[in-house]
Every structure is written in structure tokens, then in C-alpha cells.
Symmetry: C2
């Protein structure tokens, strides 16, 4: 099936949502067939993906929203966002990390809308304060219209070692809410994270990038030609409705930050707009508990039917989707995840280690549970 994206007026905004990653630290809640972005993780009544699409509505009606996802998730994406035009789901033949997903959308859009502005937004992040987010995004879009690449950096609320950081440079002379990026820093040690937060020069990298389509494409070709050149061909094939999986499968699997953002920043070509809008990448059960604690004042946070959970002298989080009664007695910082076919009992302290369990189960061939 060929793809035909209508040309828009210059400066019109497109939103691209790379929807990959399975959220293995949230097993057994998230599974390879039902990853984090398809889950109603916060009990809001809809998935994080649908939250993300709705949050962008003031900027991009759904015909200007593209979701880049794997073949095994395209049906679920279409079902959750039925108003999304069929050709706006870009299907990756294989998972190739974020640079390939971002680049695929950019090169496809470049055929019809090189002068449009495009923003990239993770499908599985939480934004508590939508209005504040939209204000910051509007600033970023304005900055991108000058031809710069722009990211949104989150004012950190604690020295997390779970996120990458952005070191901000001086503010622009004419825009004090926009800074030059000095450096993108990968997930630091806790000690470094403490130093970063104390210095007030660092922001969390939320993986939000904005630029004109032509600027994004040019950055790929300049800083990562091993991706940019094949992606140019892949986009042509995709638009023509031809099979591009051999070229895709040969792409290097690297992160956009690493392939494009870091080298561009080193040449002073990246801007950052700082923002505070209750952003969270809920990557594990400890951060899920933290994200929910604002809404619940009890010692035990419940995601699911709270009437089924009976805590006694306990603290922690219970995620219940099996419908059974769950009784806790004298356990601290406990994590209980109760699904119809698998139960996990751990502690908040070990929340990050859940990934290792999943790796271990994979080695044991227990794929049907993953």
C-alpha cells in the first residue's frame, strides 16, 4: 500500500510518537504483547499512548499524528486510536532503537512537508500538568521555526540516576526561556546525579525533540549518514508501498540521542527549553508508586481495585488485575503485582532489577509469560 501525505502550509506541526520498548521493569504487568504504552498504567481509564495523543491535540489534529511501532503492536495501536488514519501508523519491520524510528518518520514527512515542524514524543511518558506542557511545547516549536533543533528539558525534582541529563548553556540573547545545549549526558551515577541537580545547570532528558522536518533530515545526513542515507531510500520505498525490510533490518540499532542529538549539541546546534509539568517516565514499580502517591494518601498504593486489597501494618504498592483478594501483613516497601497468569513479589529497592528476571525467564524459554 502506497502512502500519500498531503502537503501542509510551512510551519504546520506534525507529532511523531515512537511506540516501542516493552517496559520489562514493569513485568508481569507489561508484556511483550501488551507493552507499557498500551497499558492504563495510572488507572486514568485510558492508555499512556492515548494520553500522549490527546495531550498533543492542540498542536496536531490526529491526521498530523504519526505512530511508529512494531508489527505486533500495530493492531492494538489502531484499536486504541481509531481516529488515526491508517497510513499514519508507520510499522517497523524489526526493533531498531529510537534513531531509526525518529528518522523513518522524518524522512517520510520530508517528501511532502519539508518546511513543516515535527516533534517527537515518547508513547509511554506521564505528564501531570497538560497546560504547562503545552506552554513549553509552544515555546519549543517557535524556537524550532528558526531552523534549530530543540529539546525540552525537565527541571529535575530529585537526583535520579534513571534518566539522561541535558547540560544547559547560556540563554539566547532574545529568548531567556531558551538555552543552548552544552551536552547530552547519559544516565549518570547517583553521585553525579546529585552533583547535577545541585548545580542547577542540568535538566532531565525527556526524549522530546522538535525541529523543522528539513533540519531533522539534514542532521541525520550530517551526523549519522549510516542511518540517514538508508533511511532516505527506506522512506521512498515506504511511500511507494514497496517492501523495505531488507534495508531496515541492516540499520544500526542506536538511540537518537547518541546518533544525532549529542554530536549536534557538540557543535552548538541544539537548543533546550526548560519546563516543569509533572513529567515522569514510569519505568518501574517504585516510580509507579511515586507517580500514584500524589493521588493516594494511604501507606499502600493500589493500582487496580482498591476494595480487593487489604493491607495490615504494611507499606508499598499493589498492582492487581487478577480480581482476587490480596492481603498484606507486616511487609514494608513491598511490591506485589498480581496478574491472571503470573505473580511478582519484590520490594521497591529491587524495582530496577525486575528486568533481570525477565532476561532470566527469556533464557529459560518462558517467552509465553513475557
Amino acid at each position: 500500500m502506497s502512502v500519500s501525505i498531503p502537503a501542509r502550509s510551512p510551519g504546520e506541526f506534525f507529532a511523531v510518537i515512537p511506540a516501542g520498548g516493552s517496559g520489562t521493569r514493569l513485568w508481569p504487568l507489561s508484556r511483550s504483547q501488551e507493552p507499557k504504552f498500551l497499558l492504563d498504567l495510572l488507572g486514568s481509564g485510558q492508555s499512556l499512548l492515548v494520553d500522549t495523543v490527546q495531550r498533543l491535540e492542540p498542536f496536531s489534529t490526529v491526521d498530523r499524528v504519526f505512530v511508529v511501532t512494531g508489527g505486533n503492536h500495530q493492531d492494538a495501536v489502531r484499536k486504541q486510536v481509531p481516529s488515526l488514519p491508517g497510513q499514519n501508523v508507520l510499522v517497523e519491520p524489526s526493533p531498531k532503537n529510537s534513531a531509526a524510528a525518529v528518522g523513518l518518520a522524518a524522512f517520510v514527512l520530508n517528501h511532502s512537508n519539508p518546511d513543516a515542524v515535527v516533534g517527537f514524543f515518547a508513547a509511554d511518558h506521564v505528564v501531570a500538568e497538560e497546560k504547562a506542557f503545552q506552554k513549553v511545547l509552544a515555546t519549543a516549536i517557535d524556537a524550532a521555526k528558526t531552523g534549530s533543533l530543540v529539546t525540552i528539558g525537565i527541571a529535575p525534582t530529585e537526583p535520579s540516576s534513571a534518566f539522561g541529563y541535558i547540560k544547559k548553556g547560556p540563554a539566547l540573547a532574545d529568548h531567556d526561556d531558551t538555552h543552548r545545549v552544552e551536552e547530552f549526558v547519559e544516565k549518570p551515577s547517583f553521585i553525579d546525579a546529585q552533583r547535577f541537580v545541585a548545580s542547577e545547570n542540568y535538566l532531565w532528558n525527556a526524549g522530546i525533540f522538535v525541529g523543522t522536518v528539513s533540519a531533522v533530515v539534514a542532521a541525520f545526513l550530517e551526523f549519522s549518514p549510516e542511518l540517514g542515507e538508508p533511511l532516505s531510500l527506506i522512506a521512498q520505498k515506504l511511500i511507494a508501498g514497496e517492501d523495505f525490510s531488507p534495508e531496515w533490518d541492516a540499520l544500526p540499532a542506536i538511540a537518537f540521542d547518541y546518533a544525532v542529538a549529542e554530536p549536534a549539541a557538540k557543535q552548538g546546534r541544539f537548543l533546550v527549553v526548560p519546563g516543569s509539568f509533572g513529567w515522569r517516565d514510569v519505568g518501574d514499580f517504585a516510580s509507579l508508586a511515586q507517580a500514584q502517591s500524589a493521588k493516594q494518601s494511604s501507606d499502600v498504593i493500589v493500582v487496580g481495585d482498591a476494595a480487593k486489597v487489604h493491607p495490615h501494618d504494611s507499606t508499598g504498592i499493589v498492582v492487581g488485575s487478577s480480581g482476587r483478594i490480596i492481603t498484606l501483613l507486616g511487609v514494608s516497601d513491598i511490591v506485589v503485582v498480581d496478574t491472571p497468569d503470573a505473580l511478582l513479589v519484590t520490594t521497591k529497592e529491587h524495582a530496577q532489577d525486575v528486568k533481570q528476571i525477565v532476561d532470566h525467564m527469556k533464557e529459560q524459554g518462558l517467552d509465553d509469560l513475557l
Copy 2:
């Protein structure tokens, strides 16, 4: 239906198994409809009740075994021990603690077999070493034939405060394996238990009592006439097939130890045969783990399908009957009990407090889960 128990030769042995109590500290494994004695608690392939009946076979063929149980459990008892004659299940109209259960069987037997010897054995205790048990029981039966009341006391292996104790006096002149009982002591404090064990004069009270039928009946009439007199009438009615529930319901609900054994011991009328045969009253999940630890060398004891349990850096016990995968990560001394309709997560330290949860659920009207 009237009851007709054939007369046996004097000294023939009858076994009575009071099967009451629900084992609330083992919730949600044990339930009011499926109490501890009906469960295959140790994964042996049969229930504790069936274990108890089999253990007594060298002394009493099943036609000389009586089970005293509640109306809601009589069908399960008959199903688990199909060879048990119908009239050998004595049904209590209401739960009245152990004195009434013991007395009912004794007064019924007294009609046809006053010169027989009868032994009383809890339905839900564990005996690891059957041969050793049988040797001690044979000694106790011999001692009982002289007309004394006899108990079997367990040489304590640790200062448990979960069991009552028996203070043993001097050995009999002609039988150095049989002592006079000085005192029955109710569950002591841990400090007292330590003192008891250090003194080597105390034994665990396993609730095993042996005596001639006429001696047991006489002890009831002498030391607890408020039970003995109505039980005499109740037994007559039971044998005649008449309703005895009004008289039964008026009985005081007290323990046999308190009603008969303690006052008899105070008058020097009780003997004790010490024994060691891997006895356990598995009353909570901590003691269940301990009872199983002899068989399993792993850090996490599994009762159920061990292939379904995946422990990582964890210690404790998992009781799984729901068929789901159970994964533990970084939890210590944890207790996980996974049943189809209820899940309990606690620690060994809180094993005794499970009873309070059950009481709490009862107050909340959650009886269908109890």
C-alpha cells in the same frame, strides 16, 4: 439412626480423632470449609487426617477408629476415609472445644466397651517418624491398662511458646520410660519456655491422651461433672439415634487439658511417656516452612508445584495452589500463599498474626473467603 458398637475383648484399643478447629493461622490455605486436617499440608499426597488414621493402623483397624467432627465436615471426612464405618463419624451439633469432643467418644464407647483402652489423637498433627511414634504409643497403652490416665510428651527441640508443656515428675519404680505428670502448663512466654527447655523437666503437650474407657469416663465425672453428666445422657441419646443437640449446645466449651487433665494431674493421677518422633503441630506458615525444610534444602520452601516458583535472592516459603507463575525478587523470610481467590503476602515473623486478619475479615463480613 441408632449406633451399635460391637463389644471387644478387654484391653482392645480404640483410636479417637477429634477433627475440629479451622487453622485460621494458615489462611488462605485453610478455610472454614476446608480446615487444616483436610489439607495435604506437607505435599505427601494425602491429608493430615488420613496420615493420622494410617499412623494408628497397627493399633486400631479402621472399624475401631472414631472421628469426632462438625456437621459441615462430615462429608469430607467420609470421602477422605471411605473405609471408615458410617457410625464411626461422631457429628458434633456445634463446636464445643476438645473436652466435649473427647468426652462424647468416651461416653459412647463406655456403653459397649468400658474395659477397652482408648487413645485420643489430634487430626492435624505431623509425625515424621512413624515407627518411633508407634513404639512410644505401645508403652503408653501398656501404662494405661493399669487404670491410669496417660499422655505422651514430646521432648522439645526448641523453646516454643506455641505449645503447652507437661512438667514430668519422677519415673515409675518399675518403668523408667514412664513418669508421673507434675503439672500441665498452658502456652508459656518465650522466657518461660527457655527456662522449661533448659531444665529438661518439661515436655511438649501434643494433646495425645490414653486410658481405659472407664477411667476416662470416671475422670470426666469426677473432675468435670458439668461435662460428664450431660455427656452421659448425650451418649445414650446418640446411641439410640435421638437428637441430642439441645443438651450438646448447652455444654461448656473448654479444653480437655483444662477440664480433666490438669485437675487429674494435680492429684497425681496422670502419667506421661516421653517421646521423640518428629512431632509438629504445624500451626502457622513459619512452622510449615520449618516442617518442610528437612525435605528441601533451598532458600525458598515451596509447598505445591516447585516448577512454578522462581525465587531470586529470596528466602521464605511459597504455598501455591493457583497454578500461576510466582516470582520472588529480593525478599527475605517472605510468606506467599497463592490460592485461586485470595493471596496473602506476609513474613515469617508475622505468621502468628494471620489469625487477626481472619478475625478482621470476619468482622467485615467477608465470610465467603474464610
